[in-house]
């Protein structure tokens, strides 16, 4: 072979490779994105109440793809979405939201203010919602100073009854097909922002987390939920992991028979043994944040100053002298949650160094009374007070005085309420967790990423390699 020819061939090869790389980096249209969910969503109606936390999380992923809210929470704060501006009276009980013009529904008709009003009335019948020109007026009756934050919740997404009777919205995707195990969404061509890159999104429901991981590794899924303890496994396989801001709390909750003042030093000693850094770094493989407070710092801003009461702890000799039932702690965890089980095992190791014996109990059926629970609760990306109220409610702490916190409370009041909840050490925050998503090989890069920082998917900005540039 002549040198000139070989040089030409080499150049041609380099050019082809460069073209391939550029093609992969450039957004492309087309293709069906395959996503998987652990829960099975029975209805996509935004106003429908979620059955449980898993159902709520699943709906929080799908609903925003189809239906949009007036406002949206972003890391930098509350942002307008269908509404462009809002105002209220001095009491915060009467609000007026100006709607974005020229919003096109999935049936290609324009969204009318009365339709928005009707949708909100369906979600909150106690409100008086009425169209006012290009705006809607909401009379909540009671003052709701943070109503725009509340309206960012998926349940207040605008859903309109279409001509066929199905619910339609203004989101980037429209519902094409729904059955018991799968939801098929098609791209909404006249979406007010821009048409999604993918033509369709196929969401398989009822897939266990380990099955989702296997599907992702086997190329049978493009975006799946993963556990923190699996993230390194994906990294070693060259797969991408995206995370939201911390939206879950893992906390140690002592049961009432261990929650008395007499056991405060005992609880403080156990809490002091927790090595949160080791849990976040090793157990959660860098996907957790040590938690001293219930509400993550990015939501409250005060987490660094929240601290449990300081006081005496039991010495090693004092722990050794305790009766065996005092030294032994039965810690109950959700048998279906491998993450909390792994954290609980580490808590047991840490406590063992102080002389305590923590027996991790993951009961399938009836089990002996536990001394404490390791609870994992999700919190919405919203105001600190709303997140705190939801977290403390879901922790189901018994033996703790109630901490009333009305909606729209000032941050100072929220801080004090949380400090009051933390002080008795009946609830011991351990770590904050983010939503983690494994991204498949076919998914191209995205400016905004596949995971929204405030939770949920950002599928409208994803494209698939091999599509049309």
């Amino acid at each position: 072979m002549k040198p000139s020819i070989s040089r030409c061939l080499a150049l041609a090869s380099v050019a082809a490779a460069a073209a391939g790389v550029m093609s992969a980096a450039r957004p492309q249209y087309g293709g069906t994105l395959r996503a998987e969910l652990e829960a099975v969503v029975s209805t996509l109606d935004p106003a429908h109440a979620a059955a449980d936390q898993k159902d709520e999380a699943a709906r929080a992923r799908i609903v925003p793809l189809v239906f949009e809210t007036l406002t949206v929470v972003q890391p930098e704060g509350l942002q307008p979405l269908l509404a462009t501006a809002w105002e209220s009276d001095a009491h915060g009980s009467r609000w007026r939201f100006r709607l974005r013009p020229n919003l096109v529904l999935h049936d290609r008709k324009l969204l009318e203010p009365w339709q928005v009003a009707e949708s909100l009335r369906g979600a909150e019948p106690s409100w008086k919602v009425a169209p006012e020109g290009d705006a809607i007026a909401i009379d909540t009756g009671e003052p709701v100073p943070d109503l725009p934050w509340a309206l960012a919740a998926a349940r207040y997404a605008v859903a309109v009854r279409g001509s066929g009777g199905a619910s339609i919205g203004t989101g980037p995707f429209r519902i094409d097909h729904v059955d018991a195990s799968r939801v098929l969404l098609k791209a909404h061509e006249p979406y007010w922002r821009a048409r999604p890159f993918v033509d369709a999104v196929q969401i398989d429901m009822g897939r266990r987390l380990d099955a989702q991981l296997t599907d992702l590794e086997g190329g049978r899924a493009d975006i799946v939920s993963i556990r923190a303890i699996d993230s390194r496994r994906l990294g070693r396989r060259g797969l991408h992991v995206e995370a939201s801001r911390p939206l879950e709390l893992v906390a140690l909750v002592f049961e009432p028979h261990r929650a008395g003042d007499a056991a405060l030093a005992w609880r403080r000693t156990i809490a002091a043994t927790i090595n949160r850094d080791a849990i976040c770094t090793v157990v959660l493989q860098g996907n957790g944040t040590p938690a001293q407070s219930l509400v993550p710092d990015w939501l409250s801003g005060y987490a660094r100053v929240v601290a449990a009461s300081v006081g005496p702890t039991l010495s090693a000799a004092a722990v050794a002298a305790l009766p065996i039932d005092q030294k032994t702690i039965v810690l109950r965890v959700d048998p279906a949650d491998a993450v909390t089980q792994a954290i609980a095992e580490r808590l047991a190791v840490d406590a063992r160094e102080a002389g305590f014996v923590i027996r991790v109990q993951a009961p399938i059926g009836l089990a002996p009374r536990a001394d404490a629970r390791l609870v994992r609760v999700a919190m919405p990306a919203t105001t600190a007070d709303r997140a705190f109220v939801q977290a403390i409610g879901r922790l189901a702490v018994r033996g703790l005085p109630p901490t009333p916190l009305p909606p729209g409370s000032m941050l100072e009041a929220t801080y004090q309420a949380e400090q009051a909840a933390i002080d008795p050490l009946v609830v011991v925050p351990v770590v904050h967790l983010a939503e983690l998503y494994g991204i498949g090989d076919r998914v191209g890069a995205s400016v905004n990423g596949a995971a929204r920082p405030t939770g949920g998917w950002n599928l409208a900005d994803l494209w698939l390699q091999g599509g049309k540039p």
Binding site: A278, V283, Q285, G286, A348
Partner: protein, 597 residues
């Protein structure tokens, strides 16, 4: 004890002693043999254990070598050495352990902290005491391994993985537990148990058998404690549910010589016990058989000897019972016994002859006595009659008037004499015709009191010296079936005899006492008493000690008492008086023979 019984006991004793001695001797020999075999088997199993232990140790060491040389571990060592961050490798140990089939694998940093632990993944970051401190050993060794819920006993090896200036250690191995015990091939009646000495005190939870379950350990605990303390092999015999068990405790030492486990090889005494039981039962069986055979033989022998003797004894008993015609006859026995039987028969014949002669003599004597009595009784009335007849003969010569007077006197005398003769004849006739008793319910006390009433006047006449009458009548005597008239006559005879016996006066005592199933009546006097000869002949008819007695009174008493199925006897002390005792049943058994009232 009869001769037959003695012979039987002797034979049984001899057989039993012989069998017992034989059984004890055989049992002791069997026990010694079994103990020797048991020692040999224990040695063999222990040798097998050590061989298996060495093989397992080699295998563990080989697998750890492979892991240390593997790309995965080398990459971990290099990455940690380069970046100093061990956190990404916290889950490395579990797949390494699975790849080599090990239960424990720990990756340990140079400072002794755990990078990754297969057996306890959550323990990263804490110090691993054994890997870093024992890293210089090349062979596998025993080591307590801490697990989340227990401390296991492991057979582990440690290797160093070079990665520049910061070495990485990898240690791992397998549990020493029931799986290991299952590799041992044990005889049927042997079992192996493993005690894992991983707790400060002896714990029943740490003892496992091949099934993996903790057997009842209380009886092993003292032995385990001694082996732990002395680090020496100790053998003891322990009680087990199915007998005694020989248990040998073998210490299993760790790398520093400390006892980390105790292997217990228990040899069941069941087979020995079964053999001893068989020997014992055989002894009992043969002994029983010997006793039975001995008994049969002794019975046969004794029968040969004792049957003629028993025949002689039976014949003697029958003769004693009144059967004078019984004879032993010919017997099949030894010459001495045959002679004895012949002598017995001869004696029996002679006895019968003598008895016949005696009866005849007694009859003759009785007739003589009767004749003498009759002669005596008739002689007195006849003598006046003969005198009267002589007077009449002489009076024929007298004048008529005198003859008339003499005739009248003679006729009167003759009449009186004839009357006396009639009385004498009547008495003898009465005795000969004693009527059968007429039974009715009568009170013995009432009869006694009536008798005293009848005879009191006769006793208390002025001619007689004073006699005091004492009655001691027990009301508990109640009534009995008897002939009141005959019983009254008996009492009159006895009372009058007693009165006659007290010629100088005295005391007459009559006592009634309920006794046995009937009543006893005692009539006692304080007279001169009776001699032995008199007591012997007292109830013989016509025998009397009185000047004018007929000798029939006490004979009638005896006859009446006999008709009432009773008994009469006399106690007497010469010079101090006599006591007649009458014993009567409440209801005579042969009451039917009498005449019902």
């Amino acid at each position: 004890m009869t001769l037959r019984a003695r012979l039987f006991a002797l034979v049984a004793l001899v057989v039993a002693i012989s069998v017992t001695l034989a059984t004890i001797t055989i049992s002791a020999a069997a026990r010694r043999s079994f103990e020797e075999v048991d020692r040999q088997r224990t040695r063999a199993v222990l040798t097998q254990f050590r061989r298996e232990f060495a093989l397992q140790a080699e295998d563990v060491a080989r697998r750890i070598d492979r892991l240390a040389a593997s790309d995965a571990v080398q990459r971990v060592a290099v990455d940690i050495g380069r970046r100093g961050d061990a956190a990404p490798f916290a889950a490395e140990a579990a797949p390494l352990a699975a790849a080599q089939g090990l239960e424990f694998v720990d990756l340990v940093a140079a400072d002794g902290t755990i990078i990754s632990s297969a057996e306890w993944p959550a323990r990263f970051g804490y110090r691993q005491p054994w890997v870093s401190s024992l890293r210089v050993r090349s062979d596998a060794f025993l080591q307590p391994i801490e697990l989340p819920r227990e401390t296991a006993l492991g057979l582990v090896a440690v290797r160093q993985v070079s990665s520049g200036s910061r070495p990485l250690y990898i240690g791992g191995g397998r549990r020493l537990d029931q799986q290991f015990l299952r590799t041992l091939t044990l005889p049927d009646d042997m079992r192996a148990l493993l005690y894992r000495n991983v707790e400060p005190e002896v714990s029943s939870q740490q003892l496992v058998d091949v099934s993996g379950q903790a057997p009842p350990s209380a009886r092993f605990e003292p032995l385990i404690a001694r082996v732990r303390q002395t680090a020496q092999e100790i053998t003891e015999t322990l009680d087990a549910a199915d007998g005694r068990e020989s248990v040998t405790g073998i210490p299993l030492a760790g790398p520093r010589g400390d006892v980390l486990g105790v292997l217990l090889l228990a040899s069941s005494g069941r087979e020995l016990a079964a053999l001893l039981s068989r020997i014992r039962w055989s002894g009992i069986g043969f002994g029983a058989l010997g006793v039975v055979v001995g008994a049969a033989l002794s019975y046969a022998a004794a029968t040969q000897v004792t049957r003629p003797v028993e025949q002689v004894a039976d014949a003697a008993a029958q003769i004693a019972a009144g059967d004078w015609d019984v004879r032993v006859g010919d017997v099949q026995a030894s010459r001495e016994i045959t002679a004895l039987a012949g002598a017995f028969d001869t004696m029996a014949v002679q006895l019968v002859d003598q008895r016949v002669r005696l009866v005849q003599a007694e009859r003759v004597a009785a007739w003589r006595e009767l004749a003498r009595r009759l002669a005596h009784e008739l002689k007195n009335p006849l003598f006046p009659l003969r005198i009267t007849l002589d007077n009449l003969r002489r009076a024929r010569t007298l004048p008529a008037s005198e003859f008339e007077e003499v005739l009248d006197e003679s006729l009167a005398t003759l009449e009186t004499g004839l009357k006396n003769l009639n009385v004498v004849v009547g008495r003898f006739g009465d005795f000969a015709r004693m009527p059968a008793p007429v039974f009715e319910d009568v009170s013995p006390n009432a009869i006694v009191e009536q008798t005293i009433r009848l005879v009191r006047a006769q006793i208390e006449t002025a001619e007689r010296p004073p006699i005091r009458i004492a009655l001691d009548l027990d009301p508990a005597c109640g009534t009995l079936r008897a002939d009141s008239e005959q019983l009254g006559r008996v009492m009159q005879n006895l009372v009058l005899n007693a009165v006659d016996a007290m010629a100088k006066g005295g005391e007459l005592t009559i006592r009634t006492v309920p006794e046995g199933g009937g009543v006893r009546i005692d009539v006692a006097d304080t007279g001169e008493g009776l001699t032995a000869e008199e007591r012997e002949r007292l109830f013989t008819p016509y025998y009397t000690t009185k000047q004018h007695g007929t000798g029939l009174g006490l004979a009638i008493v005896q006859s009446v008492v006999a008709d009432h199925s009773g008994r009469v006897w006399v106690d007497s002390v010469p010079g101090r008086g006599s006591t007649f005792h009458i014993e009567l049943p409440r209801t005579p058994p042969d009451v039917g023979k009498g005449v019902p009232a």
